[in-house]
């Protein structure tokens, strides 16, 4: 074995040992912590990306630049989920004519709102000498300020002049300075350099022969990662001043971003993506079977989980794994009816009692209802989601000739889901996959397709015992604990957060950096803000690696 490879193997084994130690003795183990902290950060970066802004990133940026009142009603085309994340899909595929039309409508609406009589006094920082004529000086002031924030870096003099000329020509034709300004703003909002994030690099003076993201690209990657929006003025200033090119400067900037209220929006976007909550956009339940599950319920279920996550991980800075054992959450009147609880109007904190079957995210209505059929629960979908979303495992698709009749038209003697899916286990072609999805999915059978508690299925008692990767459980609370202690639970989050932040699929080449991040995450007690800081300040985040020759299956 070549020396280099042998070293890598030892390093990887060292990481594994550190993770195992941390997992066994908990985050308070000083030995594990110091062991993990001693691990050297591996070399290597991530590829430069060309990414399309998501609708939320676009709207969050507009809200920062123009204020929350400028909020066009728009819905961009959905992205392709790639490697478990929609955000990674933003760097794949192109922009269709229909999408461009949507962008144009949105840009037009924004330009109209910004320059209308009610807003121009606030949003345009100067007053033209004649409101019915061109005013290049005033137009240049507006375009320089807004253009820097929209383009995520200062406009070049040539580009700025083009927009000023465009605004002037339109003002003359339309006999309206603000109408002309609106035309220029619409053009900026439609620019590929605004809609697409183009990461650029420069030679890294600290590592001759290697490239790093330039300061503006780093600022944008950082801002999309932590805030789900384009950089703010202070971040751009840090890029302009060179602060982002120093370790100390970066640490200061990242700390500011992690303590900003905008981190909540960023992390809501991440978990909405990781948990595949875009599925809520198409979620429908059979009204005759689940009359209590309305459109409001679905929206509130999504919100409940996101609120719980933000409260636990950002506000209270708790261990990520505790999300699956916590009884703390928030309740709205619509959800309370499903949980059979009293509730006040709005959202209120709530803690399920110790003997409640509700414990952790798995037992929240969001997970239970999204991963079910319209009219019934699904042990298979829930088990598959648990493995794919939370453990980053891959469950193969069912074979094309699968026979669903045992589930869809079950014999009357098969009353419970366990009995119905049992048919799969006796069919060799099905058993391979169902053995890895159904045992933990069946543990959630105490909750119907809408997420309501039940203790019987078709009059028969429900057996929720099962096993997850060798760990047995007999209650849903125990399933939460088994999942909490599953070594792949935190490493899956690490993988997803890293992939989300860099906009890249993780590949075998990222093995070392992921192992490093795993170890640091464990050493820091599985606290999300610490993970975000480690990733944002890692070399892998700011240095550029050549793009992979061919895309490897990351999952």
């Amino acid at each position: 074995m070549p020396l280099l490879n042998r070293k890598r193997l030892c390093l990887a084994l060292g990481f594994t040992a550190a993770i195992a130690l941390a997992a066994c003795s908990g985050p308070t183990s000083e030995a594990a912590k110091s062991s993990a902290m001693a691990i050297k950060e591996p070399d290597g970066g991530t590829p430069k990306r060309l990414r399309l802004l998501t609708a939320d990133q676009y709207l969050n940026t507009l809200a920062y630049v123009f204020g929350p009142d400028v909020s066009p009603e728009t819905r961009f085309a959905p992205m392709t989920r790639t490697g478990g994340l929609l955000s990674v899909g933003t760097s794949l595929g192109g922009v269709t004519d229909a999408q461009m039309e949507q962008y144009q409508k949105t840009a037009s609406a924004v330009a109209t709102q910004v320059t209308n009589a009610g807003n121009r006094g606030t949003l345009v920082p100067c007053t033209p000498a004649d409101a019915k004529a061109a005013d290049p000086a005033c137009a240049a002031t507006f375009i320089a300020g807004v253009g820097r924030l929209l383009y995520r870096q200062p406009l070049t003099a040539a580009r700025s002049k083009e927009f000023v000329d465009e605004a002037g020509e339109a003002a003359v034709r339309l006999k309206d300075f603000y109408a002309g300004l609106g035309v220029a703003l619409e053009g900026m909002l439609l620019s590929p350099k605004v809609l697409l994030v183009t990461e650029t690099s420069e030679p890294d003076p600290k590592n001759p022969g290697r490239e790093r993201l330039d300061a503006y690209s780093y600022a944008t990657r950082l801002s999309l990662f932590l805030w789900n929006a384009a950089p703010d003025d202070a971040l751009l200033k840090a890029a302009e001043s060179g602060e982002l090119n120093t370790d100390q400067g970066r640490a200061k900037v990242v700390e500011r971003m992690l303590t900003s209220p905008r981190l909540e929006a960023g992390m809501r976007a991440f978990f909405d993506d990781m948990f595949a909550f875009d599925d809520f956009n198409n979620l429908a339940k059979d009204n005759s079977i689940y009359p209590v599950f309305t459109g409001v319920t679905a929206a509130d279920a999504r919100e409940q989980t996101l609120r719980t996550v933000i409260d636990q991980l950002i506000t209270k800075k708790k261990d990520y794994r505790d999300l699956f054992t916590t009884r703390e959450t928030f309740i709205s009147p619509s959800l309370a009816a499903l949980y059979r609880l009293p509730a006040s109007p709005g959202w209120t904190p709530y803690e399920f009692p110790a003997d409640s079957p509700r414990v952790g995210l798995l037992t929240q209505v969001s997970f239970l209802s999204v991963h079910s059929h319209p009219g019934r629960s699904s042990a298979t979908l829930r088990g598959k989601a648990l493995r794919e979303i939370l453990l980053c495992q891959t469950v193969p698709r069912p074979p094309a000739n699968v026979d669903f009749s045992a589930v869809e038209n079950p014999p009357p003697n098969l009353k419970t889901a366990r009995q119905r899916v049992g048919a799969h286990l006796s069919t060799p072609v099905c058993a391979g996959c169902h053995k890895i999805t159904d045992p933990m999915g069946l543990a959630l059978e105490n909750f119907d397709g809408a997420g309501q508690y039940r203790d019987q299925d078709n009059g028969a008692p429900i057996d929720i015992t099962g096993v997850l990767d060798g760990k047995e459980f007999s209650t849903v609370a125990q399933l939460g604990t088994v999942l909490h202690d599953h070594p792949q639970l935190p490493s899956c989050l690490v993988k997803r957060v890293f992939s989300y932040g860099t906009g890249s699929l993780t590949t075998a080449k990222d093995k070392d950096i992921l192992a490093y991040l795993d170890a640091r995450f464990a050493a820091n007690g599985y606290r999300l803000p610490d993970l975000l800081r480690t990733i944002a300040l890692s070399r892998a985040f700011s240095e550029v690696a050549p793009p992979p020759v061919k895309t490897a299956a990351a999952n």
Partner: protein
């Protein structure tokens, strides 16, 4: 009674399991020996046959328009508005018991829903559709042949609709000291006015159990009443007591439905309570809500002549005589459906608490 035993035992077992606050499902409705329901459907308790021939053999009563036409036929006579329209309008607001020319058609059926309020079986009493004798429901005689109150009539449709839509009308009953929804010889029923909308299902066609209602202890104080009762074979039967129900109908003009004496008789499940609120309506109060709550057109479309009905109410009144011996209340019942709801009482603040707070601030 043997035939009730099996379901009763099953339900009792379910409810016993539900006494823990941690258990979800319908059984969770009974928590801390308490269960509450919100009024979601309300009609006057009438016995109606399909063609009405059994109870209204000569047809339905005339309403304001028909009576006006009879009084003032289009025969070329010159009349003033004061003598015609305004005179009739005044009779609505200043009714008398003087005999009038219009015949009044009372319901003729011997069957009527309701309750035996006086504990007797008298010649004017009805037999319930389930065979219980001695039912006191003279209001049925008065309004049973008025189209307004019958299936499809104007008030039949919108009384319950506006009960559902207006939060002013939100009526809650909370049962406390409940050991079992099947048999319990001593429970307390308290009525409240709620503050929140009813919880509709995904189809919008039904109201679902499990919603929440905050109690209005400020403006809703006048609707808080207590009743003692018992549950027998799943049916709540309370003692009689005073009761006023909020009853806002048209044009955001609130009124109330006053019982001089009322009782609840409701079949209970963890999800709903159905039956009657029977009692003696105060005639003056009942008549006021009719005219205050409902507009002229409701009475016209529903063929309900208020002055004629006023005479019938006193003619059929059967309780609460005044000093002269004239009865001032009439027996009747509302056919009601309640849906289980979780009640939220405002936090209790002791009288010392505000003072303590002030002291803390001062220090």
């Amino acid at each position: 009674m043997k035939k009730y035993l099996a379901p009763a035992v099953a339900l009792a077992a379910t409810l016993a399991a539900g006494s823990s606050s941690a258990i979800e499902g319908p059984a969770a409705a009974l928590q801390n020996r308490t269960i509450a329901y919100v009024l979601s459907s309300e009609y006057y308790a009438l016995y109606q046959t399909k063609d009405a021939k059994a109870e209204c053999p000569t047809g339905f009563n005339d309403g304001p328009r028909e009576q006006f036409k009879m009084l003032f036929p289009d025969d070329g006579t010159k009349r003033t508005v004061v003598d015609t329209q305004l005179a009739r309008e005044a009779e609505v607001w200043f009714p008398t018991l003087k005999p009038e020319a219009f015949p009044f058609k009372e319901a003729q059926s011997k069957i009527a829903p309701g309750a035996n309020l006086d504990g007797k079986v008298g010649p004017n009493d009805f037999t319930s559709p389930t065979g219980e004798p001695g039912i006191d429901n003279q209001l049925y005689r008065a309004i049973g042949c008025i189209y307004n109150y019958r299936d499809g009539g104007e008030l039949w449709i919108i009384t319950t609709k506006w009960r559902q839509q207006h939060n002013f009308n939100r009526t809650i009953i909370e049962l406390t000291d409940v050991d079992s929804l099947v048999n319990d010889d001593d429970v307390t029923v308290t009525t409240y006015r709620g503050l929140d909308k009813l919880m509709a299902g995904a189809t919008g066609a039904e109201f679902l159990p499990g919603g929440s209602q905050r109690v209005d202890t400020r403006w809703g104080k006048e609707f808080i009443y207590k009743f003692h009762g018992k549950i027998v074979n799943g049916e709540l039967i309370t003692e009689q007591g005073e009761l006023v129900l909020p009853e806002m109908a048209a044009f955001e003009d609130p009124s109330v439905l006053p019982y001089r004496s009322a009782m609840f008789k409701l079949k209970l499940t963890p999800e709903k309570a159905e039956g009657v609120i029977a009692g003696y309506f105060d005639i003056e109060g009942w008549y006021r809500q009719l005219n205050q709550g409902w507009a002229t057109h409701h009475q016209s479309y529903g063929q309900e002549s208020a002055p004629s009905l006023y005479r019938a109410l006193y003619r059929l009144a059967d309780a609460f005589p005044d000093k002269t011996g004239k009865n001032t209340a009439i027996s009747g019942a509302l056919d009601v459906k309640f849906t289980q709801v979780f009640v939220q009482h405002p936090p209790q603040e002791t009288s010392e608490a505000p003072a303590k707070k002030l002291i803390q601030v001062a220090h």
